[in-house]
Chain length 151, copies 2
């Protein structure tokens, strides 16, 4: 089963109130590649750069967007197990984050779920400002699970 | 210089829009000890438990609250350098997080800033649901810096 572009965009930008309040943007969504953005406006900390919690969210959500564009959403769902985030420089502009995964890797992960009942995988992500400077680096551990567990 | 309880409470609960939107609560604020809370309502993910970004924020903000109650805010300020967060169980209720630091440790950190120009320190934190179950564990690396850098 594949979702439409409009369905995926809605699930990424307005899946629930926390994300919608932050103004998260799905800038590019295609199989194997996603690019998300977060506006500085409304997400500033007390010194005017983007708050760490907003950066964390922008580092975490692309995995969900990549799942929606790249995995079989009728058969599997992901959870986040762990995230490490390194704050390298103040984020003084709107920020973007890209994530990609070769189709073969997604198939391997899904095959592992079929065989083992679950599959852990790691995603590394960089957050960049509008000048291309890396402001934060994330490393997330996710687990893909079979959808039948939920039913 | 010490801030009043009401000033600290305001800085913790409404320091900027991102935190205020989440409804973060300062439940206890005293020198060497803080307890913060986050309501499930308004911070749910698509399956009704608390979203990872809200849990991250609840894991990160107590360090700022502890700074306000425990450090000399007229001479030093903290930044967050890195945070690792482990999501152990779904957070299905309001969630709380406590952080403590002996006065002697805070004095040691401030002394190191005076001598070295900055001081890194690590804070470990557990997030608990209303039954006392640990739903997430955070480990943050913070840096204390001299206030004169900002002026």
């Amino acid at each position: 089963m594949q979702l439409s572009y409009d369905e995926i965009k809605l699930f990424v930008e307005k899946p629930f109130a926390f994300i919608e309040r932050m103004g998260l943007l799905a800038l590019e969504l295609k199989p194997g590649f996603v690019k998300l953005g977060a506006p500085l406006k409304g997400n500033e900390n007390h010194i005017g750069s983007m708050y760490a919690g907003a950066l964390f969210t922008l580092a975490e959500m692309p995995a969900g967007a990549l799942y929606l564009t790249t995995f079989d959403v009728s058969r599997y769902y992901p959870i986040v197990k762990e995230m490490n985030i390194l704050f390298r420089r103040p984020a003084r502009t709107d920020i973007t984050a890209e994530l990609s995964m070769p189709a073969a890797q997604a198939l391997d992960i899904q095959r592992e779920v079929d065989q083992q009942g679950k599959a852990d995988f790691t995603l590394e992500i960089e957050l960049q400002d509008t000048a291309g400077t890396v402001v934060a680096e994330g490393c997330g551990v996710y687990q893909l699970r079979p959808m039948e567990e939920l039913s």
